[in-house]
């Protein structure tokens, strides 16, 4: 059979790369944006599995090859889940901001304490 159109593949690559890049930022809002972009990316990849442009999977309106409904259903579920979780992440970001007056993801204190402990060790 055939491969999916390469345009969509490029779109997926860009979405994933950008999403990952945003995810790796210190600013929480950008992390949230990253999750949103990655959500789109995942949905596009589900679309990709349907290898050709076809008609909507509505039995009444059309005759001819219909697009694959299952990835669509899964993408729909995924969209909604991403939406729910994103709102939570936003609430969390708000909370971080309430506490810290900035929206950066702070490093773990205890980890840094352990890291600091080791320093005299090394110099000795």
């Amino acid at each position: 059979m055939s491969a999916p159109g390469f345009t969509l593949v490029v779109v997926a690559a860009v979405l994933y790369s950008s999403g990952f890049y945003l995810l790796l930022q210190r600013s929480l809002m950008r992390v949230v944006f990253g999750i949103l972009v990655l959500g789109h990316a995942a949905n596009v990849s589900l679309m990709l599995t349907d290898r050709a442009i076809t008609l909507p999977p509505l039995l009444t309106e059309h005759e001819g090859p219909l697009s694959d409904p299952l990835p669509q259903a899964m993408a729909l579920t995924a969209i909604v889940i991403t939406f729910g979780v994103t709102t939570f992440l936003l609430a969390l970001a708000y909370r971080v901001w309430l506490g810290d007056e900035n929206d950066e993801v702070p490093a773990d204190l205890e980890d840094r304490r352990i890291g600091r402990l080791a320093e005299p060790e090394d110099s000795a």
């Binding site: 909507p56 509505l58 009444t60 729909l76 909604v80 729910g84 709102t87 936003l90 609430a91 708000y94």
Partner: protein, 202 residues
């Protein structure tokens, strides 16, 4: 504490301060226009408020249509729920938190619980008869006025979805919109620094 109502009234201790609204302040339900409304974004626009109030029933009706017709046309519980909640979001944007509080039928948590009960109940009902979970039962009746009408249990299930989506959006708007607004208000009362008027997208 995760209740909506606790989000709206200005927190205790602030009520009797002169200039602040009374503690149990609530937007008037009956009037077309409320005077003490402060919109979430930007300056107050009477036109928007009226339009919103007029639109709400229409949007809600459309959402129910989406819910019911989902099986045959694009739509369904999600889309319906999202559209319905859009009505409330609009209301909040136009009229602020008090307007929102006045407009919603019940607390979001209760909506969520009811939706979950509805969907979960539909899912588990077949179990009582030894059938697999979520089996769909449909029944076609001939009603005097409507003619042939099909009742299918997935409609109940979809209604659960609908309620939960509405509950989610209301809950989020209440939390991230109204609560934050209330806090700002508080902070301003306190002589705090920042005001909210910084642009607005919608």
């Amino acid at each position: 504490m995760a209740d909506l109502e606790s989000a709206y009234p200005v927190p205790a201790g602030r009520a009797d301060r002169p200039g602040g609204p009374p503690e149990d302040w609530e937007a008037p339900r009956e009037r077309w226009l409320s005077t003490a409304v402060r919109p979430a974004f930007g300056p107050r626009s009477v036109l928007l408020e009226v339009a919103t109030r007029l639109l709400t029933p229409a949007i809600l009706t459309f959402s129910v249509f989406l819910l019911v017709s989902g099986h045959d046309r694009p739509g369904g519980g999600f889309a319906g729920g999202l559209v319905a909640s859009m009505a409330y979001v609009l209301r909040y944007i136009a009229g602020g938190r008090h307007e929102l509080a006045a407009g919603i039928p019940m607390q979001p948590n209760r909506l969520l619980a009811l939706g979950l009960l509805l969907a979960g109940g539909t899912a588990s009902a077949p179990l009582l008869f030894g059938r697999p979970v979520l089996e769909v039962v449909s029944y076609t009746a001939v009603l005097p006025l409507f003619g042939k009408v099909k009742f299918a249990s997935y409609l109940l299930f979809e209604s659960g979805v609908f309620l939960i989506v509405v509950g989610l959006v209301l809950s989020v708007v209440a939390a991230l919109g109204a609560r934050m607004e209330a806090e700002e208000y508080e902070a301003r009362e306190r002589g705090g620094a920042w005001g909210p008027e910084e642009g607005g997208a919608a």
